[in-house]
């Protein structure tokens, strides 16, 4: 027990250290911005997973609490700035959190009366409702221009202006760590465990003294609070909040982040948030079809790795502990060429099609992977078909071997551990 607690503390200390050290390693402006985005994406994705992974509630409108947290934070910043109120910037995400919490209390009271599909539909409806309001209530949402604000006009503590991005990064990192720890602690409380029980079997939970509606409601409120904190940090980072933040796109995006990372594990949404943010920023530099890749990745994860990337990683943890990872190396290496072939085929197909459909005016000459070619050349299309065919054929041949190698190693690891 004691050792377990120390191990946890050590893990959190390591996470804090990594967050402090990251800007020293990746010191370019672009990477500090990206890491800032990752910070509040992690909070947002984890808050979403309090619903989906822990309590079994599929929400299509989680951006409502994120976005309203952002708007309230921006308004608060403006009021504080113009009134010269003595409020320092670091506490402002709390305004976002309280805004998220308040709206979660209001909307959650209605929507958590139902579970399952009905809950999902109500969340979609509320999402659309708030998105529609954001275009009508121009005073609050700022119309098409949104609400601009300035984070530097608040009370300065220790001469920190929060003008430079690096200072904002550390503010976001501190809140991210705090929220991660709080949300992790939540999973280890009586209510956190009852959330799991309600996810597993709501009927039975009712017969051991718990109102499933109340469990869902409290989880929903907690989730709204943390989403609001994430929105507040986003407002501080961008210094502008527009109505698109409460819309269906971020609501869908947070679902993708959580799901791709893996909803069954606490670390899953963290992986998803980091990966998706990195992909969104770096991929969009290379290709206009980046969101298509993200969508494809989602489909592949749902079909072939329903436990998400986090699940795939954790599958290998017992092997790592038993020192058996190298045993599955050869089998995985055999699977690599067909996977690379398939990936190349997908990229070629998407890029060539995207070029022909979207950038037709630029002519049919294009470049992929440092190779220039003509998008209308039958050779290219033949290559795509060939890569797909050969890739699928080879993958189907090697996959049973990969699966056997993994299971043999996993069994061996279990045998070693039980000895």
């Amino acid at each position: 027990m004691i050792a377990d607690r120390h191990r946890h503390l050590l893990l959190w200390a390591a996470a804090a250290l990594v967050m402090v050290a990251l800007p020293l390693v990746f010191s370019s402006g672009a990477s500090i911005t990206m890491m800032s985005l990752m910070g509040f994406a992690i909070i947002f994705a984890l808050s979403y997973n309090m619903l989906l992974g822990q309590t079994g509630m599929l929400s299509f409108g989680h951006a409502v609490y994120y976005g309203l947290g952002g708007f309230l934070t921006a308004h608060a910043l403006n009021v504080i700035g113009s009134g010269k109120w003595p409020v320092p910037l670091p506490v402002l995400p709390l305004v976002g959190g309280l805004a998220g919490l308040s709206f979660a209390i209001i909307f959650g009271w209605v929507s958590t009366k139902r579970a399952g599909t009905a809950f999902a539909m109500i969340s979609l409806g509320i999402g659309e409702l708030v998105a529609a309001c954001s275009l009508i209530l121009r005073g609050f949402f700022g119309g098409e221009g949104g609400i601009s604000t300035s984070r530097t006009s608040t009370l300065r503590l220790f001469g920190i202006s929060f003008g430079p991005q690096i200072q904002v990064y550390y503010l976001i990192a501190a809140w991210c760590l705090l929220c991660m720890a709080a949300m992790y602690a939540f999973t280890r409380t009586p209510l956190g465990r009852m959330c799991n029980a309600v996810r597993e079997n709501p009927e039975r939970a009712e017969f051991i003294g718990y109102s499933t509606q109340m469990v869902r409601f409290i989880a929903f409120c907690a989730s709204g609070f943390f989403a609001g904190v994430a929105g507040g940090l986003a407002a501080i980072h961008y210094e502008i909040v527009t109505s698109s933040i409460v819309g269906a796109v971020p609501s869908g995006y947070v679902l993708l982040m959580a799901y791709i990372g893996g909803v069954a594990f606490f670390i899953g949404p963290i992986i998803g948030a980091v990966l998706m943010t990195a992909l969104q920023i770096s991929l969009s530099d290379y290709t206009g079809a980046w969101s298509l890749y993200v969508g494809l990745m989602f489909v592949v994860v749902v079909m072939y790795a329903p436990w998400g990337l986090g699940g795939l990683l954790l599958m290998h943890q017992p092997l790592l502990a038993a020192g058996l990872l190298k045993r599955i190396g050869p089998a995985y290496a055999r699977a690599a060429p067909p996977v690379v072939m398939l990936a190349a085929a997908v990229v070629l197909l998407v890029e060539t099609a995207h070029h022909l459909l979207v950038k037709a005016v630029e002519g049919s000459a294009m470049r992929v992977f440092w190779v220039s070619y003509d998008a209308k050349s039958p050779l290219v299309w033949g290559l795509i078909v060939l890569l797909f065919g050969a890739g699928i054929w080879a993958l189907r041949r090697v996959m049973p071997g990969v699966s056997d190698a993994y299971h043999a190693a996993a069994q061996e690891a279990q045998r070693l551990r039980s000895r």
């Binding site: 009586p190 799991n196 597993e200 079997n201 009927e203 051991i208």
Partner: protein
């Protein structure tokens, strides 16, 4: 006569126009083991659902320790001291055996909807869970996900969750259904042990279990209780023999 733990007063339940429970009156005494038997389709499970709050009552009253609980939600009835198991195993499949039981003890220990206690530090919840694991003999399986247990183990877990909250009235819906003879004997011993000092209401098809376990038996036929008495007198009751055993032998012919 001891006080009534559970009292049903002219209970009716219809699904649409179809009456399933047609005026049940039943007194279950404090501390007795009371079995409800009857042919298939007599309404035994429906009666359980009515008492435990899963189905709304059409007319009539359910009283738990003299308090009217008719129409209350299942969790409210549970908090007033009635806990039930299910005919079809109803557990938390992806949680471990230990977590399954611990979820069952939380409310009764006053943790309610707490998100300000750390569950690992809740000594009382852990000790209570350990004690129950010991009782249901699943201590060695504590860290196994409940879905991976054998059928008999799952049935034991089902009983464990039911008794975990320390309710005074325990209702078991066919706890030995689908078990082998030796598994049934274990289950009966377990039920006898865990219902010590409590009120037990049990629905059971296995007559040897019923006559072995019950202090009193009620016979439910077509939504009405035709007799309530001690096992010996029920055995000798002509109306029961005709209604229940007659249709049971008809069932045997069908099977």
């Amino acid at each position: 006569m001891s006080a009534c733990a559970l009292q049903l007063i002219d209970l009716h339940k219809s699904f649409g126009a179809t009456p399933i429970i047609r005026g049940v009156n039943l007194d279950v005494h404090q501390g007795e083991r009371h079995a409800i038997i009857g042919p298939n389709g007599a309404g035994k499970s429906t009666l359980f659902h009515l008492i435990s709050g899963r189905f709304p009552v059409t007319t009539g009253q359910v009283k738990l320790n003299q308090e009217d609980v008719t129409g209350l939600a299942p969790y409210l009835i549970n908090r007033r001291g009635l806990s039930r198991s299910f005919q079809v195993t109803n557990i938390f499949p992806r949680l471990t055996v230990f977590e399954n039981i611990r979820c069952g003890v939380l409310w009764s220990l006053g943790y309610r909807y707490s998100f300000w206690h750390m569950i690992e530090r809740a000594q009382d919840a852990r000790e209570r869970t350990e004690a129950i694991l010991e009782q249901i003999n699943l201590g060695s399986r504590r860290s196994v996900p409940a879905a991976l247990l054998s059928y008999a183990e799952q049935r034991a877990l089902e009983i464990g969750i039911t008794i975990a909250g320390g309710a005074g009235v325990i209702m078991l819906d066919e706890p030995t259904a689908g078990m082998s003879r030796s598994e049934t004997e274990h289950a009966v011993a377990l039920i006898r042990k865990v219902s010590e000092g409590k009120t037990l209401v049990i629905v059971e098809h296995d007559m040897s279990v019923v006559f072995d376990l019950a202090d009193r038996i009620s016979v439910l036929v077509y939504g009405q209780v035709i007799a309530t008495d001690t096992p010996a007198k029920i055995r000798a009751n002509a109306a029961v023999q005709e209604a229940y055993l007659g249709s049971a032998s008809a069932e045997a012919e069908h099977a």
